[in-house]
């Protein structure tokens, strides 16, 4: 239990550093919605999600209704349904419902990527370890971004922002190298994601959900996709 917690904290450290940079820009956005640094930090403590919070702050700034704001959150966060569904099968069998719900609180793109790629079953303690280092950084970064504004050179923020995307790459490339099926799904997902982002006005969250539904579905239901299924 303790070892899992410690390993989770170590695994979460690079994510936490990336969060520091991303939430910094989130804090900037929050001030545009009229929030103070402390209010923005509290918002980040309650919700850990970049795209959803960006959309939320934009909605507040634009004076959107509560119902509109909630609906936009559901749409943007739809991909988390798929991620959580994946994690239900990955998490240790004996994990209790409260433990599962605590994990559910922090199903972010990055922690999902690390949790799902963990060897063997995912122990709740490992996930808590990741949360323990990444949530404070998310909150602190939001606070600093709102308080300090654009003091940091933009080029540093850009470079650091890329780190989180690089983590997705680091998770998918090794298995894609070993399995032709995974490689095909990844390439098709990138192609479809690119097409959708170029041709439509879909939010990033909804686009990802659509791509994942269609391509995982195709991989599972098409005869070619089942050939090397070893599940």
């Amino acid at each position: 239990m303790r070892r899992e917690l410690y390993q989770g904290m170590r695994a979460g450290l690079p994510v936490a550093l990336g969060y520091l940079a991303v939430s910094f820009t989130l804090g900037l956005e929050a001030t545009r919605a009229g929030l103070t640094a402390a209010q923005a930090a509290l918002a980040s403590l309650l919700t850990n999600t970049s795209a959803g919070q960006f959309a939320g702050f934009t909605a507040i700034a634009a004076g959107a209704s509560l119902a509109e704001t909630a609906f936009a959150q559901v749409v943007i966060n739809l991909r988390y349904v798929l991620m959580s569904a994946g994690l239900t099968q990955k998490v240790a069998r004996e994990a209790s419902l409260p433990e599962r719900l605590l994990i559910a609180f922090d199903v972010t793109d990055e922690l999902f990527a690390l949790g799902i790629s963990r060897e063997g079953r995912l122990q709740p303690a490992f996930y808590y370890g990741m949360m323990l280092v990444s949530i404070p950084c998310w909150v602190l970064g939001t606070f600093l971004g709102a308080a300090l504004g654009a003091l940091l050179p933009e080029v540093l923020l850009k470079a650091a922002g890329v780190a989180l995307y690089a983590m997705f790459i680091a998770v998918i490339v090794p298995p894609a190298r070993k399995s032709r099926k995974i490689l095909l799904v990844c390439l098709a997902a990138m192609a479809m994601s690119w097409l959708l982002s170029a041709l439509t006005e879909l939010s990033a969250g909804l686009r990802v959900a659509i791509v994942a539904l269609v391509l995982s579905g195709a991989a599972a239901w098409l005869p070619a996709g089942r050939e090397d299924a070893h599940a």
């Binding site: 695994a11 690079p14 994690l87 686009r207 995982s216």
Partner: protein
């Protein structure tokens, strides 16, 4: 209650519910081979779709974004772990942004 708090509570609640729903509905192992094959592919499809083209576009300069993306793929392919992949991508973006 102040308005900013109401909005952020609503955002927090909806986000949590979306994330918690599958954990509430799916308690045990899924037996259907198709559904299992589906869920097995979800991580790869979601992560690939999130990385591309967003990573390339994230810097506001397609060239530096592309450099970051390609370095990440290359270092990952060569067996570099999370930190090396992320480091390579950051470095590539920095170099491109500062030089070009």
């Amino acid at each position: 209650m102040p308005e900013w708090l109401v909005y952020n509570l609503v955002i927090a609640m909806t986000t949590f519910l979306v994330r918690a729903l599958p954990f509430l509905l799916i308690r045990g192992p899924i037996r259907s081979p198709r559904l299992r094959a589906f869920l097995e592919m979800v991580p790869y499809a979601t992560l690939a779709a999130m990385a591309f083209p967003d990573m390339v576009l994230s810097t506001g300069n397609t060239l530096s974004g592309l450099a970051g993306f390609l370095s990440a793929v290359l270092v990952g392919w060569l067996g570099g772990g999370l930190i090396r992949v992320a480091g390579a991508a950051c470095l590539a973006v920095l170099v491109f942004e500062l030089i070009l």
